[in-house]
Amino acid sequence: MGWEEKQVRGYSEFVRTAQHYHGRPIFALFCGDKDAEGKSWCPDCVTAEPVVRKELHNMPDESVFIYCLVGDRAYWKDPNNEFRKNLKLTAVPTLLKYGTPQKLVEEECFKAELVRMLFTED
């Protein structure tokens, strides 16, 4: 069956989507919002995205890849935003395997080897 991608924006949409696919392996990449030209306010997210996309084919069958825009810079900087509070995110970009403690944060997302390890580790 391969894998599929879902693009979401904001916390509620993320949670709804993750719950919808409960039972399948779910990987999520959290990035800062993109402007009209498609460029994120978060420079590390700009670097990480292509690296992660290149490794997506390593995800196990039936996986769901959720690409989630968290919000604008001000929202992200707020220490009480829902992503920080409920998902315990500490930075963007964050790539994680939903429901497990496995995640990669910031520069770790630049390394293809680590991304591959996250996608294939069991």
Partner: protein, 558 residues
């Protein structure tokens, strides 16, 4: 003399010897044949000047027998000596001179991915070495397993301290009412919630190690490693797939696992610390078998979380620890909800009812005086009678690494090297040193040893127990200062004022140098950490007086 230029020269006798000797020595030499090492066999019987060569050999080497083996001009000896050199690696070393040394897959292979193995791998990788780490957890009899990081992270220090903390918080809740906190609800504890949170944290540590190793380019295999040949191991993964790997150097860091007593029902129905920290259900009424720090710490936090706990002890508590402190710990636990059954050992565990938890019937026999039988029902039996080194099934005998047959530990020298030069060992599997160390150095090493016990009343110590101090220095040369104390936090809470205790043991003939420090009370672990540093700097009683408020109440030697 021209012969000595050959790499490997073997002097043999007549035809009838040749067959035997070649079969004998081919075992040793086959790997060198593979490495294109030419072996010159000199058959003395067929050489015209055989007898005179034989004479020269005797003069050169004092050896009359054949085979007589030389490598690169160095005399090895006969058959036995050659085997020995093969087994301890010196033969290979001699054959592999720097120009055509055998190339290995790795510079270093570490067997065991726990505290020792991981620390070692990071150091080695930091020096630019090519490193492989093998870590594999053989599941417990009940099927429990865990990830990378070893005992401490998965089934030792980390979850233990977290559960101890959970129990302390329960105690704090009780104290809180005295400090004015008011709440209606009955406070209960949910085991599953605690285990989930702890396992989540451990999972993040396992993952962190995976990332860390990968970032340092250390190869990691979740496979069981065993030696099959010198410098070569066989790695078997969970699915049974086998790979082989070679290295110039090896480090054994395989640690220990809990011991089973060998009584009916032990493996089928009992759990150990390996199972406790991820147990998916509350253990309920528990019997803890053992008197080790593992037994007491586990009994302590289980009781603190509200369970009915009994500890069954064969003889004394905390063997090897300062016995005065051990008794105080035991007494405190007894007055705070832990039952003790002393001088009994379990002889049988039967299952009365399956379940999570089920119901078990334990039968025990007394170890002293009158033969007595004890029977009781429990939900869970936790065995904590000791831990055994994981050195028996990793092929050490194949490469000649000596272990202490009694306890499985590995004797090493000051550089942590085993009797086989390219194999080192670290961590819990180590035996003492190969040679006897003088008392001074011994004392130095003991002074740097400190330990903490996260029992309900925490215990921290650094240096010698009173027994060891008396044994090493003599009672008349010691001064012991001690004091009961009442932590301020305990005053308002109405907790005992005659329980917390501290003592220091001083060497009268060395400026009253502190050679033993023991404290029983809240945060003993943290307190001891600071004292350990002070003691390492040569703390004396006078310096202590100038800094802290433990007042001597008893200045006579005990």
């Amino acid at each position: 003399t021209t012969l000595m230029k050959e790499k490997l020269v073997v002097f043999l006798a007549g035809l009838q010897y040749i067959a035997v000797q070649i079969i004998n020595t081919s075992g040793c030499f086959k790997s060198f044949l593979l490495a294109n090492c030419s072996i010159m066999y000199l058959f003395l019987l067929f050489l015209a000047d055989g007898p005179s060569i034989q004479q020269v050999l005797v003069e050169l080497t004092n050896q009359r027998t054949v085979p007589n083996v030389f490598v690169n001009g160095t005399h090895i000896g006969g058959c036995d000596a050659t085997y020995q050199a093969y087994h301890d690696g010196s033969l290979q070393k001699l054959l592999g001179d720097s120009k055509d040394a055998e190339t290995y897959d790795y510079d270093l292979i570490i067997i065991g991915g726990g505290s020792g193995g991981l620390a070692c791998s990071k150091e080695a990788a930091g020096f630019g070495k090519k490193v492989l780490v093998l870590d594999y957890v053989v599941p417990t009899p009940l099927g429990t397993s865990w990830g990378l990081g070893g005992t401490c992270v998965n089934v030792g220090c980390i979850p233990k301290k977290l559960m101890h903390q959970a129990a302390l918080l329960g105690q704090a809740l009780q104290d809180s009412r005295k400090y004015g906190w008011q709440y209606e609800e009955q406070v209960k504890h949910n085991w599953e919630t605690m285990v989930e949170a702890i396992q989540n944290y451990i999972g993040s540590l396992n993952w962190g190690y995976r990332v860390s190793l990968r970032e340092k380019s250390v190869t990691y295999l979740n496979s069981y490693g065993e030696f099959v040949e010198p410098h070569k191991i066989k790695a078997t993964n969970r699915k049974g797939q086998v790979t082989y790997h070679t290295a110039e150097t090896f480090v054994l860091a395989t640690g220990e696992r809990p011991r089973y007593p060998g009584i009916p029902g032990d493996k089928e129905y009992c759990i150990t610390s390996d199972d406790l920290f991820s147990l998916p259900y509350c253990p309920g009424k528990t019997l803890v078998v053992g008197a080790s720090y593992v037994a007491l710490e586990c009994a302590g936090f289980l009781a603190g979380l509200g369970m009915d706990v009994t500890v069954m002890v064969r003889s004394i508590l905390l063997r090897g620890f300062d016995q005065e402190m051990a008794e105080r710990i035991g007494a405190y636990m007894e007055t705070h909800g832990v039952k003790f059954i002393k001088k009994f050992v379990p002889v049988q565990v039967e299952q009365l009812e399956e379940g999570m938890p089920g119901r078990l019937k334990v039968t025990a026999k007394s170890t002293g005086g009158e033969p007595e039988i004890f029977e009781e029902e429990y939900n869970t039996v936790l065995l904590a009678i000791g831990r055994d080194a994981c050195t028996r099934n990793i092929g050490l005998e194949t490469i000649g690494v000596k272990i202490n047959e009694k306890n499985g530990k590995v004797p090493v020298n000051d550089e942590e090297q085993t009797n086989v030069p390219y194999v080192y060992a670290i961590g819990d599997i180590l035996e003492g040193k190969l040679e006897l160390t003088p008392v001074a150095i011994q004392a130095g090493k003991l002074l740097s040893k400190y330990e903490f016990l996260f029992t309900p009343l925490e215990y921290g110590s650094c240096g010698l127990s009173e027994e060891k101090a008396i044994e090493g220095y003599g009672k008349q040369n010691l001064e012991v200062y001690h004091s009961l104390f009442w932590p301020l936090e305990w005053t308002v809470a109405g907790r005992d004022n005659n329980t917390c205790y501290g003592k220091i043991i001083c060497n009268k003939h060395d400026n009253n140098r502190v050679i033993g420090f023991h404290v029983l009370g809240p945060n003993a672990g943290e307190v001891t950490q600071g004292f350990a540093a002070a003691i390492k700097c040569g703390l004396t009683k006078e310096l202590l007086d100038e800094t802290i408020g433990i007042h001597p109440t008893c200045a006579e030697v005990r």
